[in-house]
Symmetry: C2
Subunit: 193 residues, 2 copies
DNA sequence: ACTAAGATGTTCGAAAACCAACGCACTGTT
DNA sequence: AACAGTGCGTTGGTTTTCGAACATCTTAGT
């Protein structure tokens, strides 16, 4: 039931080729022939794995989205406490291996496949759920605050993807101030923390 | 007549695996199973390409030796002039792609396969030929001077392999002084240069 | 409107790689 | 001496990949 090693290898090669090509060309400009040439796979093999280059992109985005979703869901509860976001720091640690891939895919914005947008959506959903359970009634509109929290975190994530995780320390104070301000809208009792 | 892409890929994978393993273990400690596991190739495929791990090492050494030999032979005549060794600088430029591989293989010293020793031997042969044609009669023993020249160059090569090519500039003066002293033994007429 | 070039997606026989299994040799227990 | 453990090298049937060919489809040039 487990996959043949050859399948794993060709999919790895094809996806690596796609990522490398994306550093040079636009997704639209990339041809299936380009991918095959760089990955040393034959045309027919490519189509044995993917319907077309859109399907390929789709599966890549789906893969990283799944990982992200799992990690977010696991860690979301730890978010409130801790300096900067324990969540964000944890996520970046979890995805250290895939950082290059994610950074590259973040530059691709196709209607069918958009990793950045997907991450944003997943994060927003968790925020909404979080607010609903923690503070059912709020003075400020819940959706607004959820959007705020999401955007703050996304900003940190993207910044760390570009500049490296360690660089988080540089902006920790600034981000913390903002984070606390957002959380204050949800849990006013946290003032004295 | 040209090789199937699949052969190229598996040989590439196997050789990369060998190099990566050599950064961790001794050549003796490495097993065929290790290589197969890391390169994602099956045991039977390995033996379809190589007799055993010694044969693999052998072919890798042979490959880089061939390249080295060609480059040395092409460039040896340009050696005398130019600051530091035009030869050495040229060689390092030619082999920039393979620098990591060569640096790793230089740490392996098996009686049947020793890249460092092979490079040394090839270089020495060129020096002997050079002296024979340029200065058939010399006061100092030709073999001694050939050995000197070879060792000076090998030292620079190994130093550059470790520290990067640009770092040659740092030691250029020192090496040049020595190089000139060696060449003076061959061509006393160069005093005034 | 015609053509040439390049890209897509499919088909099929041949070549290569996989994998599970086997026998063998060597080493270190108990 | 029997034993398990590990590494070597080989075998044969199965699966995957390759390569070359083919029929579209789009796009640019004359």
């Amino acid at each position: 039931m487990t996959k043949d090693v050859r399948k794993i290898k060709t999919e790895r090669d094809i996806q690596q080729a796609m990522l490398r090509l994306l550093t040079t060309k636009t997704f639209r400009q990339i041809t299936v022939a380009d991918i095959c040439q760089l990955s040393l796979t034959s045309r027919s093999t490519f189509y044995a794995h993917y319907l077309d280059k859109y399907d390929l992109l789709d599966k890549m985005v789906a893969y990283y989205s799944t990982i992200f979703n799992e990690k977010v869901h696991d860690r979301f509860n730890q978010m409130i406490d801790g300096e900067i976001d324990a969540l964000v720091r944890g996520l970046l640690a979890d995805m250290a291996d895939n950082r290059d891939a994610i950074r590259i895919l973040f530059t691709v914005h196709e209607p069918e496949a958009d990793l950045e947008a997907t991450f944003h959506r997943l994060l927003l959903k968790e925020w909404q759920q979080f607010i609903k359970s923690e503070a059912p009634t709020m003075t400020a509109p819940a959706d607004l605050i959820a959007a705020m929290g999401t955007n703050v975190q996304m900003t940190v994530i993207e910044w760390a993807l570009q500049h490296g995780e360690t660089s988080i320390d540089v902006v920790a104070d600034a981000v913390n101030t903002i984070r606390k301000a957002v959380l204050l809208q949800i849990k006013p009792t946290m003032k004295n923390k």
